[in-house]
Point group: C2
Chain length 316, copies 2
């Protein structure tokens, strides 16, 4: 008799989490709340399960007479062009959304939150452990995302401290794979959709900036273990990501090697684009022994290419 | 025909700002919103002005058919024991409050926000310029205050960037003086109220932590210059405070020297109490030429002693 609320369940990561929740025999009801701002209802079509109810609503205003045993808050755009275009809405979805969701939690229930490596800003240490306080410009163009994620972390850890609320907070590093919007705007999906259309592959800056590329299947495997399979009560934050650090240029060159008609071109760097990203997974390895990102980007990118090819109706 | 909304206008700093707003002949109406959580209606009694309307309301839910030319958002507890006791309410007052207030701003109007030196956390550089990104633990016991202030900064600078909203953000360093609640809980008011009652003066930690003590009269003089007197459109953030860096122990010893019956005693340090604070005033000096904290703590503290003596009905 477990009732679960998933906010942002039509999004890239949220819809994969919905799939995993549906594997659980103990779940009797899964309410997916999404306003379809960046999420897509097609993502949720994968869930042909009578226990799933979809409610099109902002997370801030969703109301329910039922209280939930588990709530997962993934309702936020995650791609810079999307959140930079509507920064106040981004802050509201995260912060006001979290306040609203806390009110929908059954006493003794647990709330899970997908925070982000962006809480580290442009880090001056590598790899980044959870204790690193970060280097975020709270007045800058990435601040609506970075600071609202930080503020929700504060809210949840303070709810844990003063009320004993059960919380589980992960800091996700870069994730890619199927169900990313073709117009998402981040590097891997940009490169793939450009290559599939025979357009130039565009890199912002010189491509020397590094990222931690985690394939969605690996990442949701970690999420389901931490959120419900392991039975841990550790509140987090826990870094989840791939600690193989790869430059943006290397990924672009790999994709280009399969699409020789798409030359790599360079555009001016994005303002305050972080120079590096690499998770310190020491804590993650303790919480989720044996877990790692098993899919190398060379394999994950090619799997993604096939998904985008179908999605964009481009013949092989 | 200037209509002004002041949120938190019954608070320590807010009520002094109300006094300054009332000096302006161009202001036709001043609406003071305060829920009297940490503010006190007695503070506003100083404003015996028919243009002033007091509304007892949370800042998050205050509504008005009028839109305002100027809005000042000072609705937040500022003392650690107060915000640590109700951290979610603190986040809501700041962040949800700011979202609500933005909706009450007339097109072309200006919103002023009192952010804080706490956005720098426990700084690793001194003095702290506005460009310093800070060292805040977004999972720690001070995070509800620090991170909600950071998040509102993000919101306002993003509103400025995407909508052209006129914003003015100050980062206030430590402020003390008349109208601080006797039960506020911060160092200067604690020391004075303890001394006036003949109790021991209690220092958390060894007292070597430094602060930037600005007397309220100096601080509101800077606020009125920046917010309306100077005519600047600079959005901030601007540090405002005293760059004479003084240890907590020095202030305690100064007060103790006037109250020899109150010995100084030491208590365990407060978790994550910042070790140092000192504003870099380079930018402030450009925006507000000639301004500085003119009242030395030796004078300001004695003025405060007299105010607290009357407030607490303690005979001289």
């Amino acid at each position: 008799m477990t009732q679960v609320l998933l906010a942002g369940g039509c999004g890239f990561i949220g819809s994969h989490l919905a799939d995993r929740i549906c594997r659980r025999p103990d779940v009797t009801r899964l309410v997916v709340v999404d306003n379809l701002w960046t999420g897509r209802i097609e993502n949720l079509a994968a869930v042909a399960d009578p226990r799933v109810e979809f409610v099109q609503s902002d997370v801030e205003t969703f109301s329910s007479e039922t209280k939930f045993d588990e709530i997962y808050h993934l309702a936020s755009p995650a791609s810079p062009p999307w959140y930079m275009a509507q920064p106040l809405r981004t802050i509201s979805a995260n912060v006001v959304g979290a306040l609203n969701l806390l009110g929908l939690l059954k006493p003794g229930g647990v709330i899970g939150y997908t925070s982000t490596s962006e809480v580290y800003g442009d880090p001056v240490i590598t790899p980044q452990p959870e204790t690193y306080r970060g280097s975020v410009d709270c007045t800058g163009p990435r601040s609506s995302y970075d600071e609202s994620k930080r503020c929700v972390e504060a809210m949840l850890f303070e709810a844990h401290r003063v009320r004993g609320t059960r919380v589980k907070v992960v800091r996700l590093f870069n994730v890619y794979g199927p169900r990313t919007r073709p117009d998402d705007g981040r590097a891997v999906s940009n490169f793939i959709t450009q290559a599939l259309q025979g357009k130039p592959i565009t890199i912002f800056g010189d491509g020397a900036q590094t990222r931690s590329w985690g394939h969605i299947d690996d990442i949701v495997a970690a999420l389901e273990r931490y959120f419900w399979l392991e039975g841990t009560e550790y509140p987090g934050p826990v870094n989840i990501g791939n600690d193989r650090e790869i430059s943006v240029l290397e990924v672009a060159e790999f994709i280009q090697s399969h699409f020789p008609k798409s030359p790599i071109t360079f555009l001016p760097p994005v303002v305050q684009d972080p120079t590096n990203r690499r998770p310190d997974l020491t804590l993650c390895n303790q919480i989720l022994p044996g877990w790692q990102c098993a899919i190398p980007y060379e394999e994950g990118v090619m799997l993604s290419v096939e998904w985008f090819r179908k999605e964009m109706l481009i013949p092989a």
